[in-house]
């Protein structure tokens, strides 16, 4: 039987709440009058765990148990393209960063036509240089190596 999305959501919230409590256990709680930095996080972590448990357990009364249709592949390509931008940008400059980002992002799409992607990459590199570097005068070098 596939997991109901509410079971996944509830588990996620419980885990995040627990993490907030565990990571926050070193922050002093203080008193109600002089609240320490740990007071609000402790309350929130507890509330989040309770709500998560409610959401997860509630799903067992339902009958619409269907698998969540995840699209990990496009997500992975988009994330990869953003990470590559962050990595290349400060080391090699704006144009190399975009030249790598665009094909990686385009790979997330259903069809990947090489010439089309090349054209968009070139066009948008020119546009980005025009808008951000020459127009808005952001302090970026086009090529930095």
């Amino acid at each position: 039987v596939p997991l109901h999305r509410d079971v996944i959501a509830g588990t996620l919230f419980v885990l995040i709440g627990a993490a907030a409590l565990i990571l926050g256990r070193r922050y002093p709680i203080g008193t109600a009058m002089h609240m320490g930095p740990g007071y609000f996080p402790a309350v929130l972590g507890t509330v989040l765990m309770l709500l998560g448990a409610w959401i997860g357990l509630r799903a067992f009364r339902r009958r619409d148990w269907t698998a969540v249709g995840w699209g990990w592949k496009p997500l992975a390509w988009i994330v990869a393209s953003m990470l590559s931008f962050g990595f290349v940008m400060p080391r090699f400059g704006l144009i190399p960063a975009l030249a790598l980002m665009f094909p990686l992002a385009a790979a997330a799409g259903r069809e990947f036509a090489f010439r089309e992607v090349l054209l968009i990459t070139v066009l948008m590199c020119v546009a980005a240089a025009g808008i951000f570097v020459y127009g808005l005068k952001l302090p970026y070098r086009l090529f930095a190596f």
């Binding site: 320490g36 996080p41 929130l44 989040l48 009364r61 699209g71």
Partner: protein, 492 residues
């Protein structure tokens, strides 16, 4: 007539050549991005947000307000012609608008939507000018306990009244509040949830979270859907609605304005609820309700007016109390904070030119929309035909450069990608991300007010129920919670 003087001041400021240009740029860019299928107003603002960093506060906010109206109108174009709502509020526009387009009245539908929005915009601006000052004065009497209760009411309202599951909404608010706590605690100097990453000492940036949760997650969900089909653009040559249609549309637009203005004032409700309410009201009032769904003019203009009126009046709690009612207002509030303005009742007395300048520029923005968009509809329609596979890599580019530009730091881009993953997972689990954003913005404020209130009351929590203002907000919160959760139980 103090109000007229203030409005005159506002128009004086807003009508300067520089501010008019920014207003125009905002409206044009907002429409341009908002019309693209699958990109809603929230994403549009999130993407264009970094463009305003380098402007002084007033032009920046004027431009953002312009982007907002433009994006909303752009979304209406997409709803009417493609039947693809960019956000929940335009889902109602699709019902009658797309039906009208199918019936060969696409041009008239676009014009009527714009006219209804403009009417609502004019009345909404007037209402802000009327209601803003007294509300702001009243807010000066608020103590920390009252603010805390008000924020609690807003958060609970946004959690339970947005579409979807109320319990999940509450969990999203709690998660947002937690994300808002990341960074150095202002009172004790203790860094919280920083994972020893120096970039997190100052907290998680607003654009990082908003762009990640909305823009990045939206790209991926859009890629899973089939490419939308653009139809019914041939009927665009006849833009002007007939006299009969105008007559039919007028009163519904006025009623819609009333409905929208009311819902916009409540924190946490916003445009989506108001346009649904306006649509249902018209259907109830209609002499031939069977026309609804077949392209009934009333069912188009009332929600469009309500949508815009709510958008206008939701500026009132944002500007006077510093409490945003909707996700978009959260973005506006975030922009104010980034510009070094602490939102709240003091803005009106300390920076009247800012407050009234924004109010006046809203009206100017609405006017520009009308003047700009009716003749340019053909251009926007051509944009609709651009395939999504050409568009989304550029949206990714804006996400990257926009986040990088805040601190010139790649860590912000990495974090944004991370929140993109979180946003995508949450959307897939049918958790609405808007309450999370609201919680994130209000989190630090709420903690601060809670601490102050408890310090003043010497640790006695009854302060929230003995001060009349706070008690009123608490009662509303409890009533809303009980009603929604009971109703929820009955349904499942």
């Amino acid at each position: 007539m103090e109000m007229l003087e203030s409005l005159a001041l506002g128009f004086g400021v807003a009508a300067s050549a520089q501010n008019l240009i920014y207003c125009f740029a905002g409206v044009a860019l907002g429409t341009l991005i908002g019309v693209l299928p699958g990109i809603g107003p929230l994403t549009t603002i999130g993407l264009l947000f970094p463009l305003t960093f380098y402007l002084p506060p007033l032009p920046a906010l004027i431009m953002l307000a312009g982007i907002y109206y433009g994006a909303q109108y752009g979304g209406a174009i997409t709803s009417i012609l493609v039947n693809l709502p960019g956000e929940t509020a335009s889902a109602v526009t699709c019902l009658e608008g797309y039906a009208m387009a199918r019936g060969g009245r696409a041009g008239a539908a676009l014009a009527l939507a714009a006219l209804a929005s403009f009417l609502a915009g004019c009345l909404g601006t007037l209402l802000i000018a009327l209601a803003g000052p007294p509300l702001g004065e009243w807010a000066l009497a608020f103590g920390p306990a009252d603010y805390f209760s008000l924020m609690l009411m807003g958060l609970v309202g946004s959690a339970v009244l947005t579409q979807g599951d109320a319990v999940k909404g509450l969990a999203m608010v709690a998660l947002g509040l937690l994300i808002g706590l990341v960074g150095t605690d202002v009172n004790s100097g203790v860094p919280r949830y920083d994972f020893d990453i120096p970039e997190l000492f100052d907290g998680i940036g607003f654009t990082v979270l908003a762009v990640g949760l909305f823009a990045v997650a939206e790209i991926v969900t859009n890629l899973e859907r089939p490419q939308p089909h653009v139809g019914y653009t041939a009927a665009l040559r006849r833009i002007l609605p007939s006299a009969q249609e105008l007559q039919l549309a007028f009163w519904p637009a006025l009623r819609g304005t009333g409905v929208g203005a009311f819902f916009g004032l409540l924190p946490g409700t916003g445009p989506a609820l108001s346009s649904f309410a306006a649509y249902i009201l018209e259907k109830k009032l209609a002499r031939e309700p069977q026309r609804f769904g077949q392209g009934a003019v009333e069912g188009l203009t009332a929600p469009e007016a309500a949508n815009n009126a709510a958008a206008q009046t939701s500026f009132i709690p944002t500007l006077t109390l510093g409490i945003p009612g909707t996700a978009v207002m959260t973005l506006m509030l975030g922009a104010m904070v980034m510009q070094g303005i602490t939102p709240g009742p003091q803005v009106m007395s300390e920076k009247p030119e800012l407050f009234w300048g924004i109010v006046a520029s809203m009206w100017i923005g609405n006017l520009m929309l009308l003047v700009l968009n009716l003749p340019l509809v053909g251009v926007w329609v051509r944009l609709l035909r651009v395939p999504y596979r050409w568009l989304f890599p550029s949206v990714v580019m804006f996400c990257c450069i926009g986040n990088y530009a805040v601190n010139n730091n790649p860590v912000d881009v990495y974090l944004c990608a991370g929140f993109g993953v979180l946003g995508y997972v949450l959307v897939k689990l049918e958790c609405e991300p808007a309450p999370l954003l609201l919680g994130y913005v209000l989190g630090p404020l709420m903690e601060e007010y809670l601490r102050r209130a408890m310090l003043l009351s010497r640790g006695d929590p009854s302060v929230f129920f003995t001060r009349p203002i706070s008690l009123a907000f608490m009662l509303v919160t409890v009533v809303v919670l009980v009603l929604v959760l009971k109703g929820f139980r009955a349904r499942t």
